[in-house]
Subunit: 344 residues, 2 copies
């Protein structure tokens, strides 16, 4: 029996990792068949597969095992999926992807979430209390430049850890769930490595949350600042000392809150505020994806980048004043833009 993987929301990140995991003729170990659920790019992918260009893995066309236009269609195929990998944008205020995947979730499915933000696991944990959930933080730079064409430029690093309990990652989960999740995760890391993703790492439940939280320092600071600060990439704003002070202090709020919420310092390999600022300054021309979403008038990942972290912090009596101000302003500007838009 092959291992069946379903990528739900096969945009740039989903297609990139799907292609790495797909091993249809594997003799050394178990065959892995990756199918995809596509939305806007369904027609082209169904016809031609994905073209993937990468400086690391070369250029190739990847034909997924099956291409579906919905999870309902995927369920109708009769395939039992071992891994359901969700790589959609996390927009709990717009749609609940945990509902969308319900037709394909079976007793054998592990749910793998490769998404930005914080608290993205919460609706899945509520809806599937028995299912293993693997929470992933990835560092990968790839874009779908047109439907079906994925350009990978830098990095392919993925951290994963189990997700057991909403709001309290220190709570002990049932032993069966722990065993199953760990086994799923171990296999998944192997599959990534077989696919050439050397930098696939396992973490414990707290480390992965700390890693997610750490990434918030970047996303919760730079994305809103880029939008509210006039709609430009953060690199061109940071040389201004006023913006620099603001950005540094926003990041400090996030950095100081993390260990208070999770009872442990950040994993030592994660970047410091200084090095994040230095690297970001060099990245001239780069636009945070939230700024691109803003420009394209697409929904913003407001709740998972700002709302959920603020809620959890408040629950623990930890304040992040500047981040709260960014959330309030951006939420308001976003609502105003939507209402202005709807008048058109």
């Amino acid at each position: 029996m092959p291992i069946h993987v379903l990528i739900v929301g096969a945009g740039a990140v989903g297609a990139f990792y799907g292609a790495r995991l797909h091993q249809p003729l594997n003799k050394a170990s178990k065959e892995t068949l990756v199918s995809v659920v596509c939305r806007s790019n369904y027609n082209i992918v169904n016809k031609k597969g994905f073209e993937i260009e990468s400086p690391v893995y070369g250029s190739s066309v990847w034909k997924p095992h099956r291409v579906f236009n919905s999870c309902t269609q995927a369920a109708a195929s009769g395939i039992q999926f071992d891994y359901i990998v969700v790589t959609t944008k996390a927009l709990p205020e717009v749609r609940d992807d945990s509902v969308d995947i319900s037709p394909v979730v079976t007793g054998i499915s592990a749910i793998v979430l490769i998404q930005n933000g914080f608290g993205i696991e919460w609706p899945y944990r509520d809806r599937y209390p028995q299912s293993p959930i693997i929470s992933c933080v990835t560092l990968v730079s790839c874009t779908q430049t047109k439907p079906g064409l994925i350009v990978h430029s830098r990095w392919a690093r993925i951290y994963m850890g189990p997700f057991y309990t909403k709001n309290n990652p220190t709570q002990q989960p049932p032993l069966a769930l722990q065993t199953e999740t760990t086994s799923n995760m171990t296999t998944l890391v192997d599959l990534f490595k077989q696919g050439g993703v050397d930098e696939a790492y396992m973490m414990d439940a707290i480390e992965i949350q700390l890693t997610r939280w750490h990434k918030l320092a970047i996303n919760a600071t730079f994305s809103p600042t880029s939008i509210l600060g006039g709609g430009v990439g953060i690199a061109s704003l940071l040389p201004d000392p006023t913006i620099n002070e603001h950005a540094r202090e926003c990041m400090r709020e996030v950095f100081e809150a993390g260990p208070k919420l999770f009872g442990r310092p950040f994993p030592s390999h994660l970047a410091s505020i200084d090095s994040i600022l230095e690297n970001t300054k060099k990245n001239v021309g780069f636009k945070p994806s939230m700024l691109v979403d803003w420009e394209e008038k697409r929904p913003l990942e407001l709740e998972v980048i700002l709302g959920n972290p603020l809620n959890l912090a408040k629950l623990h009596g930890v304040e992040m004043p500047r981040i709260q101000t960014l959330y309030a302003l951006l939420k308001s500007a976003y609502a105003q833009r939507k209402s202005a838009h709807s008048k058109l």
Copy 2:
């Protein structure tokens, strides 16, 4: 000898108070002749004077004693001005009004500043170390609806106090300057009262700064929030609990900083955060003047509303994190808009 007053920058506030002070045929006390320096409205005012409509003072046409198009022209008139009343918008980053008035400043001139913001007196104190400076905070709702037409709708309250020393209002000034400033101020309050402005009050040097600072809670919070929060009046934003928390906490930062900087609590008659929020919520449709300036692509009073207060606070080791974030974002958005504009 009549008392000569020159209003520099006779827009709505300048024209309104100029008309109240002007008493050309006063038999009861000293005659007061008010002249004006007009900019954009010079032609119409020179020809017809100001039309002023007010529910309190009625509708009338006010012909100033003389109408000038610049301070240089005013100086050429040979009149020695006892009071030079500056009612321009305070834009130290765009222009230095303390330079503009230099032709009319003589040894007898008291400089009266009726302007919003904080630190507006600084360039005047630097340039005219010997001159009495009277710092005024006004609560008046009036607009120039077209050139030369001033509509007064509510309030005519003015607080004034001496300004002696930049950055340290607790420092003792030279006795001669104290005496002269107090005498000028006493006369000015009498002139206002003769003109029907009953609510003209004198304060000491610290009280007036505390009053200015108190007003910042409103201006430094609501104006940037209205602009960054999507370009709408604050009243329509405040019902949202996220914006409400943000606004309340911004105001709290300003409220807590004031007494630390000036060594004294706020004068007891000044409004609380709760009552400001309640009143503001009711003011549906109202747009802060900074939002109107933003919409009209005019310069913003960024430095006197945000930059100067933050500088003084930092000098005293007091942090206002949310206000600093508002400053950074708005300054950046403003710079971006200017650079986008300049490409047109």
